[in-house]
């Protein structure tokens, strides 16, 4: 995943480095155009002066150009023919929420059994439909023997939501495959599953990279401080994506003192990467945001510049 810094908001839009496997060949160029468009929208939104603390863009992990659902899709799903089912699932995915009426057909397919590749496509389609009713059918696919299917299920649960999704994703943090664990961690962040912060912290300790960002997005004061306690113990690049959201969350969620603590702890590292991180924060610090914190960031940049010999 490549991070595109958003100068105005301090947040970063993410463009996947590779096109997801479930994006069919005929849709790949569309997908790339859509990804670029989403990033452009994100940057434009930030430049408009929106509150940096509340404008964290909600980006789809797989941007899709929506298309109306073709006629006959339901029949294709019911056909029992693997090729026709695959084509129909592709159509559903492109239609997104517009295909919500076919949710039952797709969950029915999952409940009756599919090949691994069709199951992956069905889960991707349900992710785009975002129908909470599909969550139970998706959950059972976290037990599939194919890790790609489990990863698709974890990603879908992040979109279909619901308590059962949170429970299942927390369990999926313990999956044997890194991809599934990463998708589960990201999904818990997307679901804003505050109750999962403890699990995410354990996952971070187990080098689940994707756990840092949701921790930063969801932690309360104690949990944020607990997270900060890992600075110096865990590699900085593992922590970095969790530090950033803490600094840009509204003061109602994270106090200035906690944010000051983050700046102070990073400053104490006195490393080159700490310096670069603080420089990025300094560049993106919104005008009009806390002058006290701004001063702390400025001082920290100067101090780490000297200490790291940059």
């Amino acid at each position: 995943m490549r991070h595109v810094p958003n100068v105005a908001t301090g947040c970063r839009a993410r463009i996947p480095r590779v096109i997801p496997e479930w994006v069919s060949t005929r849709n790949r160029s569309n997908w790339l155009r859509a990804a670029a468009a989403v990033v452009a929208v994100s940057v434009a939104s930030a430049a408009s002066g929106a509150d940096p603390a509340s404008s964290t863009p909600k980006l789809p992990t797989a941007p899709v150009v929506r298309k109306p659902l073709p006629a006959g899709t339901a029949e294709k799903l019911k056909s029992g023919d693997p090729e026709r089912i695959a084509a129909a699932l592709d159509d559903v995915r492109l239609a997104g929420k517009g295909a919500a009426r076919l949710t039952g057909e797709i969950t029915g397919l999952l409940d009756r059994g599919l090949t691994a590749s069709l199951a992956e496509a069905a889960l991707a389609a349900l992710a785009e439909v975002e129908a909470p009713v599909s969550t139970p059918s998706i959950v059972s696919y976290l037990s599939h023997r194919d890790a790609k299917v489990r990863t698709a299920a974890a990603k879908a649960l992040a979109r279909t939501k619901g308590t059962a999704a949170v429970v299942a994703l927390r369990r999926a943090l313990s999956d044997s495959e890194p991809g599934v664990r990463g998708a589960a961690a990201s999904g818990l962040g997307a679901l804003r599953a505050r109750e999962a912060v403890g699990d995410l912290a354990v996952a971070l300790d187990h080098r689940v990279v994707e756990a840092a960002e949701p921790i930063g997005q969801l932690c309360n004061a104690d949990e944020c401080n607990d997270f900060l306690g890992r600075l110096g113990r865990l590699p900085f690049d593992l922590m970095e994506s969790g530090l950033e959201p803490i600094l840009f969350r509204p003061n109602a969620e994270v106090s200035e003192d906690t944010k000051a603590n983050v700046i102070g702890r990073v400053r104490e590292l006195k490393t080159n990467e700490a310096h670069k991180f603080l420089q990025e924060i300094q560049k993106r610090w919104p005008a009009g945001a806390s002058p006290r914190l701004k001063t702390l960031v400025d001082q920290a940049v100067t101090a780490t510049n000297r200490a790291s010999g940059s």
Partner: protein, 618 residues
């Protein structure tokens, strides 16, 4: 712990006076170049042996010093510790061979000479130049030290030196035969040669007094407990029966044939000269202590050895395999105990009451013969590169009272040692533990499967053993409760397949829900999935149907391997039997689906016939 010398009660048997048959051509003087080792010797019907026994009547071999010696890490110093008092000594000298302990002395080699040390003090007694000939072995009777030197470059032939305490060479014998390690008693040298003879040689007179032909390989002689022994794969005692050695009527200890890890030998052949630095051969050995039966023959059953007969002390022999020490019943070869030492054992010696083992740190530990309990230890004071132990009269008593530990627990402890090098030994232990009708044995097998470092070879054996268990169901159930959990660092699933086989054989349905749960765990290996599914055909009931239906739905269209297809068929069978309408419908759909492979579809169809129900239309 205290060490004490045992009082000896055995006397040499009565001897019949016979004329001594002289060995032809043995000459006197310092240098003997004779036909001592000639093949011209003719059988003398035991007359030579009888004369030697007559000469030795009432004379026992001088007690050897109870000592452990090691080569210091720098390779230029010998360190010793007396096993009775714990007193240590040290002697610096270049070394090119491992020192040997002979009776009351320690003989070393290096710097172009051999040297002799007092085994109790480490004080130098003498040195002699060797011209670089390698040291093979030595024997000592307190007056003479007889030393065998080999030939350089592995050439055949040997040099025997009989050296007095003051360092004077009383006799030197050159021969083209390969001579083994001698023993000396009252001026008589017992010299094994050509792997099949033992000649008794009068050091002062220079005569070969007797020659013993053995039907087994013999390369080493030694004294112990006042008696003379020799052998290689077996242990022979020089007594009144030795004259019938060719008729295989000699007093002999032959260990029962049994599997031992690493194929250890009792006494390594002399061609395998012990290296200065211990190697695998030293870590994989068998030890036995010959002794004399003290049971009164009048009370003995016909199967009991009579008084004075040669027996194995404490009916124990021992095998070392790196860190694992095993005690065996010498009559049948059954495993009696297992002791796991903290470090590799690089040298050992059997005593009357147990085994003394020496490790790389220079620690000498006494293990009881009965249970393998560590009763005490001595310390060479520093790490050593190799170690030799001699125990003659030493007896060890006391120490902490042994705690009752079952053999299964001892085996489990040995199996838990995380050392891949022990794989061969562990395989043996697994086979041993499999024979125990003990719940703890089941627990041990379950536990060892959780070891992440377990060798695949050992794991296969453990799986086989577990599948055959019929006791310890609670430990297997506890194992099934465990699932892979990355965040909890449970990174190895339990041995689901073998446990399933065991429960199926016991027809115990208590494992069914747990087995069904493991079918849905993606980490469960396919082989285990297959075995669990097969077991569930007999163990599962309606309660397991939801989980089994989920497994069936997730896998029938994507099963591509034989184990997974087999598992799908087994679960299909359960669904037809216990699944009611829903279960039946799931199987019907799989049979009808275009996503189901043809071979799997065919096998699923067969289930209907077996269940006595009509299959869905084609």
């Amino acid at each position: 712990m205290h060490f004490a010398y045992k009082t000896r009660s055995r006397f040499a048997g009565a001897l019949v006076a016979l004329s001594v048959a002289s060995a032809g051509g043995a000459c006197g003087g310092a240098l003997t170049k004779s036909d001592l080792f000639s093949s011209e010797w003719s059988a003398d019907r035991g007359e030579g042996v009888a004369s030697v026994r007559q000469r030795l009547a009432g004379t026992r071999a001088a007690p050897g010093v109870d000592v452990a010696v090691g080569v210091a890490v720098n390779g230029e110093r010998i360190v010793g510790v007396l096993l009775d008092s714990g007193a240590r000594w040290s002697f610096a000298h270049p070394l090119d061979a491992r020192p040997v302990i002979a009776g009351q002395v320690v003989v070393g080699s290096g710097g172009g000479e051999i040297f002799c040390l007092d085994g109790r003090t480490g004080n130098k007694l003498w040195t002699r130049p060797t011209g670089g000939l390698p040291l093979i072995g030595a024997g000592d009777d307190g007056h003479f030290t007889v030393i065998t030197l080999g030939r350089s470059g592995g050439a055949r032939g040997s040099t025997l030196l009989a050296i007095e305490r003051g360092g004077d060479v009383k006799r030197q014998i050159e021969t083209d035969k390969d001579v083994g390690v001698p023993a000396v008693v009252a001026g008589l040298a017992f010299i094994p040669w050509s792997r099949q003879y033992v000649s008794v040689f009068d050091i002062i007179a220079g005569d070969e007094l007797a020659r013993i032909l053995l039907r087994e390989q013999v390369s080493r002689a030694w004294t112990q407990g006042g008696d003379v022994y020799f052998g290689e794969n077996s242990v022979y005692r020089f007594d009144e029966r030795i004259k019938d050695a060719t008729l295989e009527r000699a007093s002999r200890i032959r260990l029962p044939a049994r599997e031992l890890p690493g194929s250890p030998v009792l006494l390594p052949p002399i061609e395998e000269r012990p290296k200065l630095v211990s190697d695998a051969r030293d870590r994989v050995r068998v030890y036995v202590r010959p002794s004399t039966n003290a049971v009164n023959g009048a009370n003995a059953t016909s199967a009991t050895p009579q008084e004075g007969w040669l027996v194995v002390a404490n009916s124990r022999f021992y095998a070392s395999y790196f860190r694992i020490i095993m005690g065996f019943d010498s009559s049948r070869g059954g495993l009696s105990w297992v002791y796991t030492h903290p470090l590799d054992v690089i040298g050992a010696a059997a005593a009357e009451d147990g085994l003394l083992v020496c490790d790389e740190k220079g620690k000498v530990t006494f293990l009881s013969a009965r249970q393998g309990d560590p009763l005490g230890d001595r310390d060479l004071g520093e790490p050593v590169k190799s170690c030799a132990v001699q125990v003659d009269a030493l007896a060890v008593r006391g120490g902490r009272p042994p705690q009752p530990v079952s053999l299964a627990e001892e085996l489990a402890e040995a199996l838990r040692v995380p050392d891949a090098e022990l794989a061969t030994g562990k395989r043996l232990l697994v086979r041993e533990i499999a024979t125990l009708d003990d719940e703890v044995a089941t627990k041990a097998l379950v536990d060892v499967m959780g070891d992440p470092s377990l060798s695949p070879f050992v794991a296969d054996d453990v799986r086989t053993a577990l599948a055959a268990r019929r006791k310890g169901a609670r430990y297997m159930l506890a194992a099934l409760e465990r699932h892979y959990d990355f965040l909890k660092n449970i990174l190895k699933p339990p041995p689901v397949g073998p446990i399933a086989q065991s429960f199926a054989a016991m027809n115990d349905p208590s494992a069914a829900p747990l087995l069904a749960g493991h079918l849905l765990d993606p980490v469960t290996p396919e082989q285990d999935v297959q075995e669990a599914a097969r077991a569930l055909t007999t163990l599962a009931g309606p309660a397991e149907v939801p989980a089994l239906k989920q497994f069936f739905v997730l896998n029938y269209a994507s099963a591509s391997t034989a184990p997974m297809k087999s598992a799908v068929v087994s679960i299909g069978q359960v669904l037809l039997k216990h699944g009611g309408k829903d279960g039946r419908a799931a199987v019907d759909r799989a049979v009808a689906s275009k996503m189901t492979g043809e071979d799997l579809r065919g096998k699923l169809r067969e289930l209907y016939e077996a269940a006595g129900v009509a299959p869905p239309p084609r």
